[in-house]
């Protein structure tokens, strides 16, 4: 049985193909159309999913959409009318879009795909919950989904057992951890829906001096719920989601070009602390009620890897599963999985092992493209390629690594990655300044050999999707200065022998340097992650990445380039 899940029209449009309860293909539209966080109908992602399995739309048993557009439109319309006339421009922008395509999705699907069947609409947070629970492999677990906003809810507390999930409680709009985080992100001079990771990184430099204030103005309750009062916030605007009254209380906001001051770091730290306190209170309450200590989570807020570590540290949760595409892209997976279990009676459960669910490319297309572009390309055996790459990294070179199927979700996990040596003192500055052109304070994640994780980290747990941080043991800190964040933590990905070539590369690097990890950041420069060899060549040639290892080939920038 094939089920196609679709998410689109807000941000991070995506498609997922589920076959007999397992995700077999999934991709975000932005990777194909090269528009970051693209929200358009994901036609290329759908085409990819079908072609991966060699099927056509007639073979799809059910198409499922990740939220209920009418309910969402109701909330949007209500808010727009409520905040009229301030919302006039938003009204003029949003209403035609809803009427033009969002509310007539079946006809859009019919016209675009020639699909005659019915389209099912699954509530937004149920989609997130299904993506978390039905890929966790847990027999039973508490489920928590937290993001900006779905139809009316920003959070859902639920429970899953065998092939069933249910939602018990929601946090209604305007209470929203996700929207609060985005609002403060705009206060700190970064863009909403993209800049939140920067705020998380900045938080480690500050002190949560505004935590009490945030708790007070949000009316944070013991169970973790709260309200974002309109006096301080304006969620109907995407650019400036806060009001002057917030600035009156905690000081002026930061302009994007303004220097980052102590105050900004403290605001970021306070926001992070508030987020952690709210989510942890909710989880503790869930456990208190039913005693279940396994937790499956999804929603954009769980891309916050510092929060994810805190959940393990400050709650009684024993095992946590975080869906790798925790944001709205993953809604496409969840709605399809929900349909499989709840509507079609699927029984057999599975555990997601890899996020490499996107397209891969053939050798011929790579060779010919390289020839067309007059690139210097050499074919190597796998052993030679791994040795060459490991040696290059050990010598401080920054290497592009393009192998196999593209990852689904925001993290590059060794298939579309830029790799570097964590032992180099200045590697973070070099990457931020010369390659990625990012803010100075932003740290990089690492990929670590799973079997060596507990030698490096204080409280190591296997974390295959780079969705959690951990503190590096004191005695190991000197050996990986390039990977350490200011508080000695590192965001890490566990790499095991199941990861094949990537595992063998890190193993070789370990043999050379005695360091069982490499810095791993996404293969992009101020753009969406590369998808095709063409994208990889473009990024490689227009950046300071020094070598590119693409499938069986090494690509050099100049002839005779030696390590």
């Amino acid at each position: 049985m094939y089920i196609l899940g679709i998410s689109c029209y807000y941000h991070d449009s995506a498609a997922t193909l589920v076959k007999d309860g397992k995700i077999i293909a999934a991709a975000q539209e932005e990777r194909f159309n090269r528009e970051k966080h693209s929200n358009v109908f994901p036609i290329s992602a759908i085409n990819y999913c079908l072609s991966k399995e060699g099927i056509i739309i007639n073979d799809i048993d059910q198409i499922v959409f990740y939220e209920r557009p009418f309910l969402k439109f109701h909330r949007v319309l209500k808010n727009l009318i409520g905040s009229f006339p301030r919302s006039f421009s938003a009204f003029m922008d949003l209403v035609p879009r809803y009427l033009g395509e969002r509310l007539v999705l079946p006809s859009k699907i019919k016209n675009t795909l020639d699909y005659d069947g019915k389209v099912l609409y699954i509530p937004h947070h149920i989609s997130h919950a299904a993506s978390a629970f039905f890929t966790s492999g847990f027999e039973k677990a508490n489920i928590l989904t937290v993001d900006g906003i779905g139809e009316y809810a920003s959070m859902m507390i639920g429970y899953g057992e065998k092939n069933r999930i249910k939602g018990d409680k929601i946090l209604p709009y305007p209470g929203s951890v996700g929207l609060l985080y985005s609002a403060i992100t705009t206060y700190l001079g970064f863009k909403a829906n993209g800049g939140e990771g920067k705020v998380m990184a900045l938080a480690d430099f500050g002190e949560p001096v505004y935590l009490d204030f945030l708790e007070k103005i949000m009316d944070l309750k013991e169970d973790g719920s709260f309200t974002c009062f309109e006096k301080y916030f304006d969620f109907s605007s995407g650019n400036r989601m806060f009001r002057n009254s917030l600035e009156k209380e905690i000081g002026p906001s930061r302009r994007p070009d303004q220097k980052i001051e102590r105050h900004h770091k403290d605001v970021a730290a306070s926001l992070q602390a508030f987020t952690e306190k709210s989510v942890i209170s909710i989880i503790n309450n869930m456990i208190k009620k039913n005693g279940v200590k396994k937790l499956a989570v999804a929603g954009g807020v769980f891309l916050n890897c510092v929060l994810n570590r805190k959940i393990l540290e400050d709650t009684e949760v024993e095992q946590i599963h975080i869906f790798p595409a925790a944001g709205d892209a993953g809604g496409s997976s969840g709605c399809a999985l929900f349909a499989y279990y709840h509507l079609f009676g699927g029984e057999e459960r599975y555990t997601i092992k890899t996020a490499a669910l996107g397209p891969k490319y053939l050798k011929n297309s790579i060779v010919n493209l390289a020839i067309n572009r007059n690139l210097i390309i050499k074919e190597l055996s796998e052993e030679e390629l791994i040795k060459d790459c490991a040696e290059s990294i050990s010598l401080g070179k920054i290497c592009g690594w393009f192998q196999g199927n593209m990852e689904f979700g925001p993290r590059a996990l060794g298939n579309r990655s830029i790799l570097a040596n964590p032992a180099a003192d200045d590697i973070k500055e070099k990457l931020n300044r010369d390659v990625k052109h990012r803010e100075w304070f932003r740290p990089y994640g690492v990929s670590v050999l799973d079997e060596k994780g507990s030698e490096i980290f204080e409280d190591y747990v296997t974390n295959s999707f780079m969705i959690m941080t951990d503190t590096v043991k004191k005695e190991k800190r000197k050996s990986i200065p390039g990977a350490l964040h200011v508080n000695h933590s590192v965001r890490y990905q566990s790499v095991s022998s199941d990861d094949g070539k990537y595992y063998r590369l890190i193993k070789k690097f370990y043999e050379i340097t005695n360091i069982p990890m490499v810095i791993n950041t996404s293969f992009n420069v101020q753009e969406q992650i590369v998808c095709s060899p063409e994208d990889a060549f473009d990024t490689f040639m227009n950046s300071n990445i020094e070598r590119l290892y693409i499938e069986d080939f090494v690509v050099l920038k100049q002839e005779g380039d030696t390590k």
């Binding site: 194909f32 159309n33 036609i43 290329s44 759908i46 085409n47 079908l50 072609s51 060699g54 056509i56 739309i57 007639n58 675009t112 795909l113 020639d114 053939l362 011929n364 297309s365 060779v367 010919n368 493209l369 020839i371 067309n372």
Partner: protein
């Protein structure tokens, strides 16, 4: 001298190499690619939409032109197995089809259980002989394609079939406006000299032969005539699919017992015996063939490497085959030699 990127030779007046050593096909492709938009790329969903529009509305959903080669045989396979349509298969033999191709076709239509029309005729034989006798530079394959497309449209009309399916590769199309325009875009720059010679031959010789007084003067005329009588969409599944040639060849070998012919040009293709003569004359008159053009496009689409194309295009056949074809046309070697 060959283009640095593809396999086109510098062969004026149609092919020019620029200062970087790229030919006009590659230069055009480069500028087209720089302005590439998603809507110029075909997706399989678009093919499915077209097929679904006509599914189950006629006795036959589509007419599949099958020559026994890997591309047309796989097209028939996809139409039946993947898209689950009810096609009528059709083959035309101008008297020079090779036995291995016929074997492949019979196998395919038997395995897939589809109705099949096999039309054999000597109708074109005199015209082909006339090209040689008059020393015309007209391309035999161009004339043949005009004839078989006319015949295909007539068959589609006769059986009221709304879609004509071919096995043309992406290199044999001029994306995106190829649908319903037939195979050969003889107005393309790389074909201009060939088209001119073909038109001249048709005008000066064919029209004077009573047997061919109704023969269309161009592909455009074929399409115009067809449009007046019956509307049919012409397309090839390969334009919409990303499946590499090796993969679909393996598929039909395993599923339909398909075989490569012993001798062919280009390598790993299946063509009629007359094709060897057509290739020989194209190389002589123009320095390249329509296969060079096709593969150059495939190279630019990253579906083939330049080295692979050069290997496939290497002339490596027994010249005795040319003599056999000439004999069957009532001609001899002398007729194709200069002077």
């Amino acid at each position: 001298m060959l283009c640095k990127r593809c396999v086109m030779p510098e062969s004026k007046p149609d092919i020019y190499l620029n200062e970087q050593g790229l030919c006009n096909i590659c230069s055009a492709f480069e500028s087209q690619n720089n302005n590439r938009k998603d809507d110029t790329v075909f997706h399989e969903t678009e093919l499915v939409k077209i097929l679904n529009k006509h599914r189950g509305k006629h006795k036959y959903d589509c007419l599949v032109m099958i020559s026994g080669g890997k591309d047309s045989t796989s097209s028939l396979y996809y139409i039946v197995k993947k898209y689950k349509l009810n096609p009528l298969a059709m083959t035309f033999d101008h008297g020079f089809e090779n036995e291995e191709a016929i074997y492949n076709i019979k196998n395919a239509v038997d395995s897939l259980k589809v109705d099949w029309i096999f039309f054999k005729t000597d109708f074109m034989k005199e015209m082909f002989a006339e090209i040689i006798r008059t020393k015309s530079k007209a391309v035999i394959c161009h004339l043949c394609s005009i004839w078989y497309m006319q015949f295909t449209y007539e068959t589609a009309r006769r059986y009221d079939i709304p879609i004509i399916i071919a096995g043309w590769t992406k290199g044999q199309s001029n994306i995106p406006d190829i649908i319903s325009k037939g195979k050969c875009d003889i107005d393309a720059p790389e074909y201009q000299s060939m088209a001119k010679a073909t038109k001249k031959f048709l005008k000066e010789h064919v029209r004077k032969m009573p047997k061919y007084k109704d023969f269309p003067m161009s592909m455009e005329e074929v399409i115009k005539r067809a449009a007046k009588k019956h509307k049919a969409t012409v397309l090839s599944p390969h334009w919409f699919l990303k499946t590499p040639v090796e993969e679909y060849t393996r598929l039909i070998q395993e599923e339909l017992g398909w075989r490569f012919p012993k001798e062919s040009y280009p390598e790993k293709s299946t063509n009629c015996l007359l094709n060897f003569l057509s290739v020989l004359l194209s190389l002589k008159h123009y320095g390249y063939t329509h296969y060079h053009v096709e593969m150059s496009k495939m190279i630019n689409l990253n579906m083939m490497t330049r080295d692979e194309a050069l290997d496939l295009l290497e002339k490596n056949w027994d010249d005795k085959m040319i003599d056999d074809v000439l004999t069957r046309l009532g001609l001899s070697r002398k007729d194709i030699e200069d002077g």
